[in-house]
Amino acid sequence: MEDRRTLLQAVLALLAGGVAAWWLPQVLELFAIINATVYVAMALLALSLALVWGFGGILCFGQAAFFGLGGYAYAVAALNLPDTTYAIPIALGVPMLAAAALGYVMFYGKVSDVYMGVITLTVTLILFNFINSTAGEEWRIGAAPLGGFNGIPSTPPLNMPGDPGTALTPEQIFVIAVACLAGCYAACKLILRSHFGRVVTAIRENELRAALLGYNVRLHKLAIFAIGGLMAGLAGMLFANCVFVSPTMFSLAYSGQVIIWVMVGGVGTLLGPIIGAMLLQALTAWAGTLPEVNPNLILGLVLVVAVLAIPRGLQPTMATLLRRRAP
């Protein structure tokens, strides 16, 4: 029974993605489309943390580091390559390798959970500081100036594969973003249903027992962490295509917000954080329009209440509510 339910959820997700991708571009005008693409990219970032933290049991305070690396890798590659389609593998490879390297340092370094949070936080800070101070002329990779605090505004958007001349329109980029989100969601569902996914979930439940059954715990954690890094990098690439790449992608704000979204959406689920990300971004945007109220205050209070009231997050609480009411 459980397998049918996961397949149903995966199909539903792809369907919802399809409808949104087809219908929204007709309805929304340009500014809203770009905004929607940012929401989708952020939801994908939340999904990557939901997979790594919710199922891998690895609380990474620095998921924004891979988000930023994905964006910057794409920007630098796109500026140096004739056809931006070749920039895609680089934009995914760099954050994945970075995640694997950071994962190796943490999981093979016998680091306890608390220090893992600290190390991921510190690494993001170092990247933020480093990228921020690359304003000078000498900081360029090939034809791409890193641009320090101002980021790289002149990043060329994705173009039709094989035809560098015609860049994709924002509507097309939105469709690609939704496709990526739905695709990654379905991929997560399949990964978690696979043997590898079950072992990763078991490791979250009890690391020692998994090891005593012969599973290489550190390798599995490294792998799921790298997959999370890849997804966050993909989100970074999408972000680079609808906004532009800047050091703020590495900032504490993004790392913090993504944790809030997953926490409020529901640690231990996939759909929860996606919904949480979209809802909270809309809430922050709405709060920004209120003259007297400062968005930080609302976002902060939401997190404090979320931690105190619903330790396992929005979606499971709703799910348990629904199940309890159903006979």
């Binding site: 959970d113 936080l121 400062n294 930080n296 105190l308």
Partner: protein
């Protein structure tokens, strides 16, 4: 010769500032295993309460040394009652809750005071060392930090309250069995940590830009200092502040400020890799 002396003083004031802003966090984290990500905002509240006290006509020194720690200490009690008390033992949730608190505080202060509040300039004028002149207040800061460190050490080491606090932190169950009201000890310890942070915020106010987001500049530094310091609260934080403070100051002096920063963070990562439990995880293990 005066160059060496002046640079030495710069290094000392760098270390003192780092120690000052980390001490409050060390008390809360070192003793209570509570990671307070709103620590930066506690500093900011300390600075703001000092400035508002001065604007209300209270003497500068009274405002800094009395009003600020008192206000932030009381605020600490409120925070402990409402939020922290429900999350003992849940390290990750405390991190997230205090992160939310930090965002909320920045938002609230920006709403109430706007982005700019008129600060007051550093008292005690300037002091001439050979060809170099440095601020008299900088020297006062170094002295104040040493006194504060000694005071906290003395309280923990010699007073019964200090003993009870240390006992409760190591084994709350046993302490309760001996009749110690552990709830109140936790509340007072968190308040003490908050008061020290408030005092630190007030002391650095004349030397820094007091804006609602000033906390974010300090939180990373104090966090890294306390974590690299390790379990033993005072010895750990002081040794880490000494190491990181001097690396940062001398690095900035010899090379560029950017390298000074990167050097400090690199040393921190190296330390975390070699000594995952921090400096006092290995050296001066039994000290306070």
């Amino acid at each position: 010769m005066d160059l060496v002396l002046a640079t030495g003083i710069q290094a000392l004031s760098g270390i003192a500032t780092l120690l000052l802003i980390s001490l409050g966090l060390a008390i809360v984290f070192g003793m209570m295993r509570v990671i307070n990500l709103a620590h930066g905002e506690f500093l900011m509240l300390g600075a703001y309460s000092a400035i508002l006290a001065v604007q209300a006509g209270i003497n500068l020194w009274v405002a800094m040394l009395v009003v600020a720690p008192l206000c932030v200490g009381l605020f600490g009690v409120v925070v402990e009652r409402l939020v922290i008390r429900r999350l003992y033992g849940r390290m990750v949730d405390t991190m997230l809750a205090t992160w939310g608190l930090s965002l909320a505080l920045i938002g609230a202060v920006t709403m109430i005071f706007g982005n700019t509040v008129a600060g007051f300039s550093a008292p005690l004028g300037s002091v001439q060392i050979g060809a170099y002149s440095t601020s008299g207040y900088g020297l006062f800061l170094i002295a104040a930090t040493m006194v504060l460190l000694a005071a906290v050490w003395a309280v923990l080491r010699f007073t019964p309250a200090g003993l009870i606090a240390r006992g409760t932190m190591q084994n709350a169950g046993m302490a309760a069995a001996l009749g110690v009201p552990t709830e109140r000890v936790y509340a007072l310890s968190f308040a003490a940590g908050a008061a020290v942070s408030g005092l630190a915020g007030a002391l650095i106010a004349p030397m820094s830009g007091v804006v609602p987001t000033m906390g974010t500049a300090y939180i990373a530094r104090s966090f890294i200092t306390v974590i690299t310091g390790g379990a033993a609260m005072l010895a750990g934080t002081s040794s880490a502040a000494g190491l990181l403070g001097s690396v940062n100051t001398l690095g900035t002096f010899v090379t560029t400020p950017v390298l000074g920063e990167v050097l400090m963070l690199a040393v921190a990562i190296l330390l975390l890799r070699l000594l995952p439990q921090g400096i006092t995880g290995r050296f001066f293990r039994r000290s306070l």
